[in-house]
């Protein structure tokens, strides 16, 4: 299926990536080309096939619900682009 310019704009919005208007046309062609190639999967009969979500057959392990880590506020904040008084500083979210 071809991805038109409007769809690229919408997907870019969903992915939170700013795409300049001038780049949309080229991206629409690139993505359409990749999807057209991917669509050869339609040739495969997958009726009744269980989707494969993991190659590890085992059930996910459970552990005791206890605190095993923590007390590392400064380490957690050390890489923040902006931090103040033990908090991340982010742009205003609520007016």
């Amino acid at each position: 299926m071809a991805i038109d310019v409007d769809t690229v704009r919408k997907v870019a919005k969903l992915a939170r990536i700013a795409v300049p208007e001038a780049r949309l046309q080229a991206l629409s062609q690139e993505l359409s080309g990749i999807l057209a190639w991917i669509e050869q999967l339609d040739e495969v009969d997958t009726d009744g096939v269980e989707p494969m979500t993991s190659v590890v057959a085992a059930k996910l392990p459970l552990r005791e619900d206890v605190v095993t880590d923590g007390g590392k506020r400064d380490a957690v904040l050390a890489n923040a682009p902006k931090a103040d008084k033990g908090f991340f500083v982010v742009p205003k979210v609520v007016e």
């Binding site: 992915a15 700013a18 690139e30 993505l31 050869q40 999967l41 190659v55 890489n79 923040a80």
Partner: protein
């Protein structure tokens, strides 16, 4: 011993030299650091050299040895792919969006290596977020392959995404390197550089602290100079880790003990579907030669069929971008890495990600967001997961009849930098023989087996049953011995 004698050693040889006190870990580290300083302006294999850390670790290693506490990798100088988080040492996944990120923790795989005595020389270049097959998507610029074609001065790709790892090992800048493989990123660079690379069974190596690309496919492994070196490294890297819920709680065998074991009586499958249209004659010939070598070593050869092979790459290019688009959602400019200001919160997200991610990474995030979006999920993602099951079933069926498979590693030798980056699909086709293994979670190893007409290395791949790396190491050892591949790149750097 001279510095080049030290860097020219295999990892096994260095372990022996250190044990016999022929040289110290400090001397070994110094020789490698000097080699890196001389080579890196030309090869760009390392994105970060950590000479002070290396000398400090080497000194501590020598002290442990003096106390009789030497680990299996005591004093061994290694390079670490920049996808692995290293505590207090910048770890960027070769992306601008992680510039300056110094993890407050150590990845489990690297922690295992340090536990066993290894020394870190620095962080290795790679394709951004491991998305690429030529190292050209790196924010630090491409790595140049130490190999050149006969009589040519053309700069070649070392492959990708673990191009820095492969180039550094091939150029004797480290005794071995960590790498990761989501669709072929250990094996294809190994093939392009005359090195050995193994992607173990999914779950062998912990993914904790490895920057995530596609979590159901990502797996760490070593790139090394010999099959035995790869076996030694993999043993240290492997092991159960409660911090990775897909880490397998199974015993880690002494992989090196399988190298040199007889392969007599093993049944080797040669899959028809890997003889793709347009396969270069020299690769087809090398493959036939590999079959003859294993036959001569006493293996029984069988033609087998993996009917869904051609659908592996298209399925991968749904599954991997879908997982990547979710994994990379964390790069939002708030908690670490780059932030591009821009008014509203949404604008900051959008600007940060536009500025921080390279073109290929953006392309894959967009594909992933599209195939996961409302209305398309069943047609693409669910379909791909079903095809993935078909591919895994193909392997299950042939492993009823054979013990391992022999294939080429890559459809070509190393190509020129700049040659294939105009067409994403042409680049994706590099992984045509390797990607099936990731989808099925199986182990695969690439061994240098010969050279192309232009004198460039070519690898053969062996694929095994889940958790049967031991058999792969025996077979890879047999191929290595028969091929007697001794060529090294002519030093031009």
């Amino acid at each position: 011993m001279s510095a080049s004698d030290l860097t020219g050693l295999t990892l096994k040889g260095a372990v022996e030299g250190l044990s016999s006190k022929t040289f110290s870990a400090e001397e070994l580290a110094r020789a490698h650091l000097d080699a890196i300083a001389a080579a890196n302006p030309h090869l760009n294999a390392f994105v970060l050299e950590t000479p002070e850390k290396a000398m400090e670790m080497a000194k501590a290693s020598d002290a442990r040895r003096a106390k009789g506490e030497a680990g299996p990798l005591e004093g061994i100088s290694l390079g670490i792919k920049d996808l692995f988080c290293t505590e207090g040492v910048e770890s960027t996944a070769a992306s601008k969006i992680l510039k300056g990120f110094k993890p407050p923790y150590e990845s489990t795989v690297t922690a295992n290596l340090w536990r066993d005595g290894a020394v870190m020389l620095g962080k290795l270049n790679m394709d951004e977020f491991a998305m690429g097959s030529s190292n050209e998507t790196s924010a630090f610029g491409p790595v140049t392959n130490p190999w050149k074609g006969k009589g040519s001065n053309q700069a070649l790709t070392p492959g990708g995404s673990s191009g820095g790892s492969a180039a550094a090992v091939a150029a004797d800048l480290c005794l071995g390197a960590t790498a990761t493989d989501t669709g072929g990123s250990i094996r294809q660079p190994a093939s392009f550089t005359g090195t050995v690379g193994i992607k173990p069974t999914y779950g062998r190596c912990s993914r904790w602290g490895v920057v995530a690309f596609a979590s159901s496919l990502d797996q760490a492994g070593p790139i090394a100079k010999t099959v035995e070196d790869a076996a030694i490294l993999l043993r240290s890297m492997s092991g159960h880790d409660p911090k990775d819920s897909t880490s397998l709680n199974v015993e880690v065998p002494d992989f090196a003990s399988f190298v040199g074991k007889s392969v007599k009586g093993l049944r080797i499958g040669v899959p028809d579907e890997y003889r793709i249209e347009g396969m270069p004659e020299e690769i087809a010939k090398l493959w036939d030669q590999g079959v003859e070598w294993l036959k001569a070593a006493g293996c029984e050869i069988k033609r087998v069929s993996l009917p869904h092979t051609k659908y592996a790459l298209p399925a991968y290019y749904i599954v991997a971008p879908a997982e990547a688009s979710s994994n990379l959602a964390r790069y939002d400019g708030m908690r670490y890495g780059l932030r591009e200001e821009g008014g509203s919160l949404t604008n900051v997200y959008e600007n940060t990600r536009a500025e921080g991610f390279g073109e290929e990474v953006k392309r894959r995030i967009l594909i992933g967001a599209y195939v996961l979006s409302a209305g398309y999920y069943d047609a693409y993602y669910l379909k791909a997961q079903k095809v993935r099951r078909r591919i895994a079933d193909d392997f299950d069926a042939v492993f009823q009849e054979v013990d391992a498979l022999l294939t080429p590693t890559a459809p070509s030798a190393a190509f020129a930098l700049g040659d294939r980056n105009a067409d994403p699909i042409a680049m994706y086709l590099n992984d045509v023989f390797t990607v099936t293994v990731n989808l099925a979670g199986l182990p695969g190893i690439s061994v240098p087996a010969g050279v192309s007409g232009e004198g460039l290395p070519l690898g053969l791949q062996l694929i095994g049953r889940a958790l049967d790396e031991g058999t792969l190491f025996s077979l890879a050892g047999a191929v290595e011995e028969a091929a007697a591949f001794r060529a090294k790149p002519q030093r031009w750097w």
